[in-house]
């Protein structure tokens, strides 16, 4: 365990040396927040509810997206794993008594914790600036469910992006295409731009067969009290199942990939 603490600490130091990078990344998230915020403001100027969401509901939703995104989608692993496989730098890790997946998950955690901290500050500032009406309907259970589903979401995101990056084992040069596609899917179908229940029922059913809604939409809906009781447990169970399934799949790809890994370089 101690080795991963040290990785965590070193990752923080590393993030600090890339201050500008980090600030720009946070700036991008704030911009995206403002974009969706004003988009919804525009839509709500004509009517008071859209798909059952009142304006304060929707504003609360997109505020929560900012936090949840910080915790779930800030993941340096997604930017690095493919490159390290393609360039052969993965060798450095394979030589050592350490798990590559755990190493990158730890680095993700370090990055998430920093991002989370900043997202709280940003939300406070944005709230002070915009002073919108918000509505929350949380309870003890919804907070518990939110934390649990959020933790699953973190792992699911990691596994989805890691397994997408593992395609570099077979296609060292063109991993970007697939990863980019998956990133777009995540952006749209995880619920970071709009809550997924605004989609037609057929679309919702299709999405439920993918891991995407478990990333952002479900955690937020749980916190917001829209998913309760048995339904809540079902969603948590499905999150856990996706996590397990993806874990098995990722490890399978990893083992297959190492067999064809060329350890390029030098």
């Amino acid at each position: 365990m101690r080795k991963y603490f040290t990785v965590f600490a070193a990752s923080w130091q590393d993030e600090f040396t890339y201050r500008l990078n980090f600030i720009l990344w946070r700036f991008r998230n704030v911009l995206r927040f403002l974009m969706t915020y004003f988009l919804w403001q525009g839509l709500f100027s004509a009517t008071s509810t859209i798909y059952g969401y009142s304006r304060p509901d929707m504003v609360a939703y997109i505020f929560l997206v900012l936090i949840v995104q910080a915790a779930i989608t800030s993941a340096p692993s997604a930017d690095n794993i493919g490159g390290e496989i393609g360039s052969g730098d993965l060798s450095n890790y394979l030589l050592k008594p350490m798990s590559y997946l755990r190493f990158w998950f730890t680095r993700d955690l370090a990055s998430k914790s920093l991002n989370l901290l900043f997202s709280f500050i940003e939300i406070t500032l944005l709230w002070l600036l915009l002073r919108p009406a918000l509505s929350f309907h949380y309870s003890f259970f919804s907070v518990f469910g939110f934390v649990a589903s959020g933790l699953f979401a973190m792992v699911i995101y990691f596994l989805v992006s890691a397994s997408a990056r593992f395609t570099s084992f077979w296609y060292p040069e063109n991993t970007w295409g697939l990863s980019f596609l998956i990133l777009i899917f995540i952006e749209i179908f995880s619920g970071s731009i709009f809550p997924l229940d605004v989609l037609p029922p057929a679309g919702q059913i299709i999405l439920q067969a993918t891991p995407f809604p478990y990333l952002i939409y479900y955690p937020i809906s749980i916190l917001d009290g829209k998913i309760t009781g048995l339904y809540l447990w079902r969603i948590l169970f499905q999150s856990a199942s996706w996590t397990l399934l993806l874990l098995i799949f990722t490890r399978f790809l990893w083992r297959k990939g190492l067999r064809v890994f060329g350890a390029e370089g030098n």
């Binding site: 080795k3 070193a10 130091q13 040396t17 890339y18 060798s91 394979l94 060329g262 370089g265 030098n266």
Partner: protein
């Protein structure tokens, strides 16, 4: 006891063929064709504890590939390998804690942090006790004279300074076996010498086993008693350095100083003229004909001085590499 044993090791790479140009790229995307590179093709050797072995061969011979199989980065195509009793590509932690692979052009240090941070990370990864870490680090830092560089960002170090740091990072866990792939590449002559001294000391003091590849014959001459030569994935030689000459050099070199100008064409009857600038000539003659050639020289030419020598090891190895004179 053999600490490393390799039997009939083969590593064949499958590589996807790419045709030139954009159209070719599309074609190979739809319909991939593979070709096989026999990087290592049936190599066997055994190394015992404490040996310092030079592993040499021309570019593309399969040296790095062999070292990568030995350290568990690559799965072999066939053959049996045992290192410290382990099968390398199973990558068991108990095995990984006992060796290090240093690739001259790869870096494991965190680029944006001082080297010291990477050392601490390795200490934790290899679970090195505090006291041992301190004493190992102190020794290495002194030997390599890098005390004042520990707190500087790795990206700001020079190539040679970084190589030293790479070496420290690789040695923090006191490995029993060291695979050094071109450890002196890119170093200036002074640094090369220091690196060599360091490797020699490390081998003696810790009785560690070292396999070293290098394209600098000085490295090999100074460090290695035993040399393994491979070419095109096959073993050409395994033995003492000076045996290479006996085995492969089927000629000797006659160095002649003439007392009067001669007709250089006439020298061709003696042997192959390597060099001629009056008054000195280097003539290569087959081993068996050395004395006959020498007496012919003395009889037919105005010779002031004559020397019969073994060819330089560099020349012999060059010939071995190019596949000449192998008969």
């Amino acid at each position: 006891m053999d600490i490393i044993s390799v039997k009939d090791l083969k590593k064949h790479y499958q590589i996807a063929q790419k045709e030139a140009g954009l159209a070719g790229s599309f074609k190979s995307l739809l319909h991939r064709q593979y070709s096989v590179v026999k990087a290592v093709d049936g190599v066997s050797f055994a190394i015992s504890e404490g040996e310092l072995v030079g592993f040499i061969g021309p570019n593309g011979a399969g040296k790095t590939t062999t070292l990568k199989v030995l350290s568990g980065l690559l799965y072999p195509t066939s053959g049996a390998v045992s290192v410290l009793g382990f099968t390398p590509w199973k990558r068991q932690p108990a095995f990984q804690k006992q060796f290090s692979l240093v690739l001259g052009q790869k870096n494991q240090l965190w680029w944006d942090l001082p080297a010291q941070e990477s050392f601490i990370l390795n200490k934790e990864i290899y679970e090195v006790p505090d006291a041992q870490y301190k004493s190992t680090l102190d020794t290495l830092v002194q030997l390599l004279e890098v005390a004042d560089l520990l707190k500087i960002q790795v990206r700001k170090l020079s190539l040679g300074q970084r190589m030293k740091m790479e070496l420290i990072a690789a040695l923090i866990h006191s490995p029993k076996i060291l695979f050094l792939d071109e450890p002196t590449i890119g170093l200036d002559v002074v640094m090369q010498k220091k690196m060599r001294d360091f490797i020699k000391d490390y081998n003696r003091q810790y009785h560690s086993t070292i396999i070293l590849t290098s394209h600098y014959m000085d490295d090999v001459k100074e460090l290695c008693d035993r040399v393994i030569i491979i070419n095109q994935g096959r073993l050409l030689f395994d033995g003492q350095l000076d045996e290479i000459i006996k085995k492969f050099a089927n000629h000797k070199i006659l160095t002649v100083i003439f007392s009067k100008d001669i007709n250089p064409d006439a020298l061709k009857s003696v042997g192959q003229v390597r060099e001629f600038t009056y008054p000195r000539a280097l003539i290569s003659v087959p081993r068996a004909e050395t004395s006959a050639a020498a007496s012919r020289l003395l009889r037919d030419f105005p010779v002031a001085d004559l020397n019969i020598e073994e060819p330089a090891i560099e020349d012999v190895i060059r010939e071995v590499f190019t596949g000449k004179d192998l008969a």
